[in-house]
Amino acid sequence: MENKKTVLARWSMISIAAVCVMVFSYVPTASAFLLSFQTGKGANLQFNGFANYIRLINDGTFWVTLGNTLIYAAVEIPIMLFIALVVAVLLNDPNIKERGVYRTCIFLPCVTSMVSYSILFKNIFALDGIINNLLLRLNIVATPIPFVLDAFWAKVVIIVSLIWRYTGYYMIFYLAGLQNIDPSIYEAAKLDGCNFNQTFFKITVPLLKPIIFLTTIMALNSTLQLFDEVVNLTGGGPGNSTRTISEYIYDLSFNYVPSYGYSATVSLAVFALVVALTILQKEVTREKGE
């Protein structure tokens, strides 16, 4: 029953959201694409063909920041998701008392703001921070480790911080996934004498494969856009050793001599990576579905 009223209601209800998304998402993306073929400052922009793309390929800093971002992803994501999965499996065991308390504690880091916890961790890992104090008192090190000032340790600190903040977040997805597994499977495994390792790797992991895949993509996606933490923990330093690609885009646009055209080009590289990931996810889940 299509009448005038429903047609009018349909389009007026959708229009505001549609206009917002067009104006603040698609128009900027399209103009970033146009910008990537331009050079100049402020309103003085000229087309310069593919020069920005050629610069991108030869830009050492771009590759360094992309590399940093990928290192974070490669180290952080497997460790974090593994801990999240193990914790979820343990929390799913009805024999464990105080499950709710543990779950709340482990989830709590996820409600902190990115800026706040980064500053907190910067203090915890400071030269005279609590970690160094502990290490000194336990005689593990003789001199404090310059965590935030050392190219290697700064990366470690960022990865540790990310794991602290997001493990509980991904745990929630695994807990939800575990609820959908028939408990009789575990009972059967128990009767057959399977131990924890066997049930974990032979039953839980295969059954949760779709969720593990999904969370991997989600984590990759958010790591590719990492900005707040790095800015507030290390500021990208020392040198460029912890700078992420998002921070590089920000610096190119607002800190260094502004070159909008080129930074738009770098941002499109991130965009391309995110789109590729999303397509990969859609393809794989489609295969699973059929």
């Binding site: 429903t6 047609v7 209800m13 959708i14 505001i16 959201a17 549609a18 998304v21 603040f24 998402s25 698609y26 128009v27 900027p28 993306t29 103009s31 970033a32 910008l35 801990i83 193990v86 343990l90 464990i96 504690c105 482990i106 709590l108 880091p109 409600v111 703001s113 990115m114 800026v115 706040s116 500053i119 907190l120 961790f121 910067k122 203090n123 915890i124 005279d128 921070g129 609590i130 104090n133 602290w164 493990t167 997805f173 969720i211 590719l224 856009q225 900005f227 707040d228 800015v231 507030n232 920000y250 646009s253 607002f254 930074s263 738009a264 941002s267 499109l268 991130v270 965009f271 999303t278």
Partner: protein, 269 residues
């Protein structure tokens, strides 16, 4: 392995992970009661500087003003985005046809666009409109959130269409159906979406950092980050700032824990 031993190991593991998760919070609260010098010495007991730190944070760092800014912005963004996105999500299900399906796909696809890819054009757009450093440039890009449209659409699928038909027979106008039937029935969906939207607005850092220039307009993440990255930061004061910016979200989490989790899981339904 002995059953009791394996049980103890599991519990020990959970206790350690829980402790590691909570410890930074504990340390944050303890540090907020200490002087900057004590914090740097690694003091792990409560001190007496809490009131002084709070006074500093509010008087010299103006965190009270940033708190009000953040609260106002987040509440306005949450209300507007919930209204706009739930309307669209509802309409995409109730008035579904080929055209709306395509439009919905286009809107949801924009979730893929990383924010970094939009900052320069957005910056230039708002600069041209003369709206930089105006809260409109924070509010406008946030109210049409594709994720929320998607979230409401997913949750509207289960909304009973017979109810709508019945209301129409009773002579209800399409908008009345939305406001007085759909809205009250979907309260828990709205709660989950509100948490998601509020958190995103409250914690937003990158865009306000670019768009807001005068300190009197700063939101909490900007103000706290500024304090902490100053030349000789007063750590006690910084800790108070961190607590002020974390406490509201923790409070919401404890009050609405169930909706909170729903909101997170909503992204994968």
């Amino acid at each position: 392995m002995n059953k009791a031993v394996s049980y103890s190991i599991k519990r020990l593991f959970l206790i350690i992970i829980s402790f590691l998760s909570v410890f930074p919070f504990l340390w944050m609260v303890i540090s907020a009661t200490n002087d900057s010098a004590d914090i740097m010495m690694g003091k792990l007991t409560f001190g007496r500087a809490l009131l002084k730190n709070i006074r500093n944070a509010i008087e010299s760092a103006n965190l009270g003003r940033s708190f009000i800014n953040s609260t106002l912005l987040s509440v306005v963004i949450t209300i507007l985005s919930l209204f706009i996105c739930s309307l669209a999500g509802y309409a995409f299900v109730i008035y579904k046809n080929k055209a709306t399906e395509v439009l919905c796909m286009i809107i949801v696809a924009s979730m893929m666009v990383p924010f970094a890819a939009k900052i320069i054009p957005l910056y230039r757009m708002f600069a041209n409109m003369g709206l930089l450093n105006n809260y409109l440039c924070i509010i406008l890009p946030a109210i049409g959130a594709p994720f929320l449209v998607f979230f409401f659409r997913q949750n509207s699928e289960s909304f009973p269409k017979e109810t709508i038909e019945a209301a129409r027979v009773d002579g209800c106008n399409e908008w009345i159906i939305f406001t007085s039937i759909y809205f009250p029935m979907m309260r828990s969906t709205y709660a989950a979406a509100a948490i998601f939207s509020f958190m995103a607005a409250w914690n937003n850092y990158m865009w306000p950092l670019i768009a807001l220039q005068s300190e009197s307009k700063y939101t909490l993440p900007l103000a706290v980050s500024n304090l902490a990255n100053g030349f000789t930061p007063d750590y006690g004061m910084v800790m108070v700032g961190i607590i002020i910016s974390t406490a509201p979200t923790i409070l919401i989490f404890f009050i609405l824990q169930k909706n909170f989790v729903e909101g997170i899981l909503g992204s994968v339904k």
